[in-house]
Every structure is written in structure tokens, then in C-alpha cells.
């Protein structure tokens, strides 16, 4: 369970990124965060990643307040999160297997088990047999699949996807969305996007943000900017 309670974020120069936002997300729920650029979508993801701290309000994840100034074992908390970025953030000097293996190694998975689990993840994202290729040998869609495989590896309960299809063409976007369809219901997914076609096709819960304010919380939503 994720709970935002009257969360605001104001940056040192005075601009407000999030204003008094409250919502709850149940385990294994699939939620779209939608809104124009600057609406506060990425800020919510960064708060969950604990890259940002709220100026006011509290954020609870599985009954643990992650918005406290100091929390013990931040790395342990982050091991429960899988993150997918618009720009993939794949290490260019490591092959596919090594890129995904990092996600497992930080969790202390034994070397003997790493390869097997990586290959399972690659199967899930539709990249079997590509484990030894380097990022320069992959298309944008394939890179994003690698990033998704990395985020899904190692039993990460919460998947945070920050505009994961933002850099992809429509065909590849739908291929990527098929992967999200496969994992829905098995993990909590928070998917930030401003692509209304994706949101409308999924018919999942939608949190609509505008200028840092949560404007709507639509249970089985469609979305139109």
C-alpha cells in the first residue's frame, strides 16, 4: 500500500512542484499518472524513489514512512522498487545480461542464479537470445525492454515507470505496453505518461495532475488532455 497524505514539494527557489496531494494505491494496482509536462508526475515518482523529500505531508509505503528525514536502510527500501526511465539509463559498456544482472546483484542474488533469472526476464520482455548484445547493437524499443527486464528482475514489488514510451514510435510503444499488460495485477505499477491512447486502452485507474495539484482520481479512467 502506498499512501500520500497532503504532500507538497516546494523547491528552494520557491516554485511548487506538488501541492497538497493525497491518494492511496493498493498493492498490485495499476495506476496511470497523467498530466502535461511540469504537472508533477515525475515529482511523485522521485518522492517514491526518495530522490526528493516532501516539504510537507507524509508518504507511507507498506506502513513505513519513507518521507522521514532519516530512514534506516534506504537501499533495502529501494530494492523493492523497479524503475523505468524515458531515456532507458542502460549502461553502454555492459551487455544486456550484465545490465539486468546488476538489479539482481544489488539484492545479493547468488552468481549461480543470476544468469537463469536474467534469461527468464528476457523471455518475459520478448528478448530471448539477446543477452550478449551490447546497447549499441539494440534499437530504442529493445533498450526499453532491457530496462523493463531490469526493473522486473529480483522480485521488485513496485514498478515506477516514468514516460517509458516517450521516446518510442507508436508500433514499439504498443509492443512495450504488451509487457505491462502481462505484469498487471502481479505488482504495483505507477505509470507516468501523457499518452492518452495508452491510458484509454488500459482502462485502469488514472490520477490526473495539473500544476502540481491532483485534479481527478478516476477509478477506471479514460483520459483526455
Amino acid at each position: 500500500m502506498i499512501r500520500f497524505d497532503q504532500v507538497s514539494v516546494t523547491f528552494p527557489l520557491g516554485n511548487t512542484a506538488l501541492n497538497n496531494v493525497s491518494f492511496e494505491i493498493a498493492d498490485n494496482d495499476f495506476v496511470f499518472l497523467v498530466g502535461k509536462s511540469g504537472a508533477g508526475k515525475t515529482t511523485i515518482l522521485k518522492l517514491l524513489l526518495r530522490e526528493y523529500l516532501p516539504s510537507t505531508g507524509t508518504i507511507m509505503v507498506d506502513d513505513k514512512e519513507i518521507s522521514a528525514r532519516r530512514i534506516g536502510k534506504l537501499h533495502k527500501y529501494r530494492q523493492s522498487l523497479g524503475v523505468i526511465f524515458q531515456d532507458f539509463k542502460i549502461l553502454p559498456d555492459r551487455n544486456v545480461l550484465e545490465n539486468i544482472a546488476i538489479s539482481l546483484r544489488v539484492q545479493g542474488v547468488r552468481d549461480a542464479d543470476v544468469r537463469e533469472q536474467v534469461l527468464e526476464s528476457l523471455q518475459l520482455v520478448g528478448l530471448p537470445g539477446k543477452e550478449l548484445l551490447f546497447p549499441a547493437q539494440l534499437s530504442a524499443g529493445e533498450l526499453q525492454r532491457v530496462a523493463i527486464a531490469r526493473a522486473l528482475s529480483g522480485n521488485r514489488d513496485i514498478i515506477l515507470a516514468d514516460e517509458p514510451t516517450g521516446n518510442l514510435d507508436p508500433k514499439t510503444t504498443w509492443e512495450i505496453m504488451k509487457i505491462f499488460k502481462k505484469i498487471q495485477g502481479s505488482r504495483t505499477v505507477i505509470f507516468a505518461t501523457h499518452n492518452s491512447d495508452i491510458v484509454n486502452s488500459f482502462r485502469k485507474r488514472v490520477l490526473v495532475l495539473k500544476d502540481g495539484i491532483l485534479q481527478k482520481d478516476i477509478r477506471k479512467g479514460g483520459y483526455d488532455l
Binding site: 537501499h75 530494492q79 524503475v83 549502461l91 544489488v106
Partner: protein, 279 residues
């Protein structure tokens, strides 16, 4: 490079100081002050002086060389010249005391006291050699502390800067690792390993360079130490280490100390750099 240079200097200084201490130790095993008595001085007076010396707290041991002992020594020295032996007898040779001080810097004081004693004919002691050796050892010791301290700081600063630069180049990777939940040790670990290997590798090179210098300088060192069969250090600890002739055990110890310095500097510097970046 800077670590290699630092470790090479540490190895050279370590070897030099070991040799000087070995030499000091060697000199301390020689009679340091020899006092010769006038021929009319009785054994009773000599023994009284010996006992007073032993009670002074400055003297480690005193050996009495009687006229007869002196003649035996003379015969040994002049064994190739029988005529000289025939012309000499025990009575014309002086009795003497060979005095070993507890510390070399007690020697001038002991010698000065003996010169004023009745019955003393002459006092000989290796003042110049001991003084010079003491001065040299102290100077090298002080210079070593300053120089090695400076070099260690310099090496650390350079390695911290180099590693910081390398870490900055990998900031994307570190950011991803942190977001994936890597703990500090997971991120710092490879840099610590790199520092360890850098230190060890530099120590191997530095010791190799030292061995090359020693081999090159062996004829010169051998010339200076001619007549000295062996130099040892740390005999007081019960674990005597032979410095001269140069041997694998001594070089092994030098390597181990140099490697320890190298590994510590390399590891700590990389740790500081990584820590600074992460914080």
C-alpha cells in the same frame, strides 16, 4: 606513478635506515671506550673503577684485559712477525678496560669521566664514528618522517583526485546502482579493490626498482662495509633480521612493509574519493 615513486622512496629510506641501524648495532658490539692504565696501577684500583662504572647505569658491560691478555692479543696480531713478539713482553703492555655503553650517546660522558681518574694513561673511544652515525641516523629518521609524511599525503591527494575523476565519469552508473538499491559497499567495493591492486602492484614495482638499485650499488656498499661480515637489526626483540649481506628475507620484509603502505594508501584514498562522491 606517484604511488610507485612514494613507495620506492619509502623502500629506499627503509633500507637505508635498516643499514644504519645495523651499523650502529655493529658498532655497539665493538669495545666502544677503551681505557689504558699506567703500568703502576694495581688490579685492585682497576677493579674498583670497573665496579664504579657498572654501577653508573650508563654501562652495559666492562671487560678487563690484563697485561697478559694484552700480550696474547698482541701475539695474535703480530703472529706473522716473530721478531716483534720476541722484543715484547707482558710487562710493557698496559692493562685496559673495554667498556660497552648502554646507549651510544653516553660515550662522551663516560670517556670524559675516565680521563680524570688517577692511574688512567689514555682513553680511546670511537667518538667521531659514533657521533657521525648517530647524527646521520637521527637526521635520516627526522627527514624520513617529514618526507614520507609529505609523500603519503601527496600520493593520497593525487589518488583521491584521480579516483574522484574516474567516479565522476561513472556517475550515471552509480546513480543507477543507487536507484536499484545498491548499498554503499556495493558501490565503493570495486574502488577499494582497485586501490588494493594499485597499492600492491606499485609495491611490487617499487621493490623491484629497489633490488635493481641494490644490485647496481653492491660493489660500492661492499667496499664501505668491507671487514663487516654481517649486520643485524632488532636483536633486542629476539627476532634478529640480517640486513647485510643483502638477502631474500630482508628484501621480503621491505616488500611487505612497502606493500602494506601501498595497499593502505591506495585503499584509503579510493575509499575517501568514493565516500566523498556518495555523500
Amino acid at each position: 606513478m606517484v604511488l610507485f615513486f612514494t613507495l620506492f622512496l619509502i623502500a629506499v629510506i627503509l633500507t637505508s635506515v635498516s643499514f644504519l641501524y645495523g651499523l650502529l648495532g655493529y658498532i655497539e658490539t665493538r669495545p666502544q671506550v677503551t681505557v689504558y692504565f699506567q703500568s703502576n696501577t694495581t688490579e685492585q684500583d682497576i677493579f674498583a673503577l670497573r665496579d664504579a662504572l657498572l654501577k653508573s647505569g650508563q654501562v652495559a658491560s666492562v671487560t678487563y684485559i690484563s697485561k697478559e691478555d694484552a700480550f696474547e692479543i698482541y701475539k695474535e696480531i703480530a703472529k706473522d712477525n716473530p721478531m716483534l713478539i720476541e722484543m715484547t713482553n707482558a710487562n710493557i703492555l698496559p692493562a685496559s678496560l673495554e667498556i660497552y655503553a648502554k646507549r651510544p650517546d653516553y660515550l662522551p660522558q663516560i670517556a670524559q669521566q675516565l680521563e680524570n681518574k688517577p692511574g688512567v694513561d689514555e682513553v680511546q673511544f670511537q667518538k667521531i664514528i659514533v657521533d657521525r652515525l648517530l647524527a646521520l641516523t637521527n637526521a635520516i629518521k627526522n627527514a624520513t618522517i617529514i618526507l614520507v609524511g609529505f609523500l603519503v599525503v601527496m600520493a593520497t591527494v593525487v589518488i583521491v583526485a584521480t579516483t574522484s575523476f574516474k567516479i565522476a565519469l561513472r556517475r550515471d552508473e552509480i546513480e543507477i546502482l543507487q536507484l536499484l538499491g545498491a548499498d554503499s559497499m556495493f558501490i565503493i567495493g570495486p574502488y577499494l579493490k582497485e586501490g588494493f591492486i594499485l597499492g600492491l602492484f606499485s609495491a611490487i614495482l617499487a621493490t623491484g626498482a629497489l633490488i635493481a638499485v641494490i644490485i647496481g650499488g653492491l660493489p660500492v656498499i661492499g667496499g664501505y662495509l668491507s671487514g663487516i661480515s654481517a649486520l643485524d637489526i632488532l636483536p633486542a626483540t629476539g627476532i634478529s633480521l640480517r640486513v647485510w649481506p643483502v638477502n631474500p628475507v630482508f628484501l621480503g620484509v621491505v616488500f611487505m612493509i612497502t606493500a602494506l603502505f601501498g595497499i593502505l594508501i591506495g585503499t584509503i584514498a579510493n575509499f575517501l574519493a568514493a565516500r566523498r562522491y556518495l555523500s
